[in-house]
Subunit: 352 residues, 2 copies
């Protein structure tokens, strides 16, 4: 099996490592910036300086270059790839890439992995273990080549899931790209509101909501641009929803029903994900080294998994609140364990 | 010292406990719903059924009823309070409460504490330790009474901070109320986009951004209404910012500068808070009981404090990414410790 990896960063490098170690594939890499390091790290067997040599006789080609370079490189790869070579990409938006590329060899792809770092130095063979890898085949896609790609991804540890490109982009726009835009808007508003004021008591809701604000500017500006259409629609939807809230406020309407609907919607979205409802526990703790360990150890020893966790220090950093999400059936036991440690704790009735 | 607490829930009950234990105050409580439980818990010395008996000879009155009942109860309290009694409230919006109440005895207040639970059963004497307690005096406020309230709050463990009511509401609207609205909007958008689709791979950015979606509907609809004006302005600002992004996307403008500005703004907002820059570490970990404990223990033993933490499981819940924020000067050491545990980890160059 010969695999060509075009663009050997975190994703491309991890594809190479996994393909080598799990499939015994021969991996060729093309990347003027990192091919040498990729060779040193064992991510590829061979560094090629041109696409034609990398693609010669290849069974599969994975194009993992930055999104702004993707369309051009993808066309170059399709131009030199053999008849029997499946070609995929790893871009985070699919509509613009897939439309107009009705090539039987091409399947758009998007692995949901690797957000924690960038660069081939962080590549690892197990990056895709258990990760969803979206594929966006079209009616032009060759069934044989699609199946080969699917098997390749399974062998890399991923879980391929087919989706049409429109739905993929719409989903990513709302669950990933819009949150990033809103985080930026929020810090912009706060920076404006606080101009000249004393440092604010930034609460946990602000910290959580802005955690991704300003993430990796070159990467994210490329992602916004690549998913321009679907993100634009998501923005229109968000603007309309905010205007509605604005009107309701002005009219003095009660927003309790709206708030309750949001609780149900979030619960439904996250329940699907974990296969069951979660309960949020909130514990007040002194903010010192070791406290999180005490909490996590107590639950861990009892076999209770912490599905999600957020720690919010108080303003002066002496006290804090830890929010923990655990399975509903384990909530009572978890509350008891936290209480035994001497920390005030309560379960937040409603969910996740 | 006689303190009257009107509304004995989490906040009122904690005021009572702290005033009794730390000041030896005699605390009278008025609350048809919870005065009996408050007596049992030792939050008050005496349960009164009418305001006049509670306020007789009182040195200070703390009105801690739900925001929608606040204006009426506050006026009732001011009507029966003595000339020499300082009266304060704990509402989360101040402009509407303070305007038109030019009474020398009244000082608007807002403690930033108690978000983790509700009800007198969760009241505790140390709830306010280290917590900012905003006070919004006006030119009508008596200096002597303001000073008495200030000393009382310090004795309760809080850190009083004076702010004008307009600035208070503007700040709370942007750092607290707007994040809640945006979280609701985000889950609404996602619920719409996903209608009929398979469960999405909800990413960590979505989880973080929607953590407070649908929080306590009766409480939060009251908070939105109470801070209607300032929240309306914050919404206008957010809508304008989103439209700008929408236009930039349509025009094909590069959003990298905008993204980078958000990174600087968030860093500035959070640096102020911790007195120094933080570095985000991201570690890939198996999602099983004990992992968070291992991480937190390793850092805790080395004396490294985790300022903030977020845990995002992967789609199938077998693997996850832990984000940790630590002081810049401790980041290298922290990375080494996490790596020693066998978890891939990287520091996210830029900050917080």
């Amino acid at each position: 099996l010969i695999v060509a990896v075009v663009g050997v960063g975190l994703i491309g490098g991890s594809v190479g490592m996994a393909a080598r170690s799990r499939l015994g594939a021969h991996v060729r890499g093309v990347d003027p910036g990192s091919a040498t390091r990729a060779l040193e790290r064992g991510a590829i067997d061979e560094a090629c300086t041109d696409l034609a040599s990398a693609l010669r006789g290849a069974d599969a080609a994975v194009v993992a270059v930055p999104v702004d370079a993707l369309p051009g490189v993808l066309d170059d790869v399709l131009a030199v790839a053999g008849e029997d070579c499946v070609v995929t990409d790893v871009g985070s938006a699919k509509r613009a890439i897939v439309n107009g590329r009705d090539d039987p060899r091409f399947v758009g792809g998007h692995p949901l992995a690797g957000a924690e770092a960038a660069g081939v130095e962080h590549a690892r063979a197990d990056l895709f273990d258990g990760a969803t890898w979206y594929l966006t085949p079209t009616r032009a896609t060759s069934g044989v080549l699609y199946e080969r790609l699917h098997r390749l991804l399974v062998a890399l540890g991923a879980r391929p899931a087919a989706l049409d490109a429109e739905a993929h982009d719409r989903i990513m726009a709302t669950v990933s790209h819009l949150p990033h835009v809103l985080a930026n808007v929020l810090v912009g508003q706060a920076a404006g509101a606080l101009a000249g004021e004393a440092p604010p008591a930034v609460g946990p809701s602000f910290r959580d909501a802005t955690r991704v604000a300003g993430a990796n500017p070159p990467l994210w500006s490329g992602i916004y641009a690549a998913n321009r259409d679907a993100l634009g629609e998501a923005l229109d939807g968000a603007i309309a929803a905010l205007r509605q809230v604005r009107e309701d406020l002005r009219a003095g309407s009660d927003l309790a029903d709206w708030q309750a609907r949001a609780a149900r919607e979030r619960a439904a979205l996250l329940e699907d994900r974990f296969g069951g409802p979660l309960v949020e526990l909130r514990a007040a703790v002194p903010n010192r080294p070791g406290v999180v360990a005490d909490l996590a150890l107590a639950l861990g020893r009892a076999g209770i998994n912490i599905s999600d966790m957020a720690l919010a220090p108080s303003v002066d950093n002496t006290q804090g609140v830890v929010a923990l999400w655990v399975k509903e059936g384990e909530a009572t036991r978890a509350v008891g364990l936290v209480r035994d440690l001497g920390f005030p704790v309560s379960a937040q009735g409603a969910v996740a």
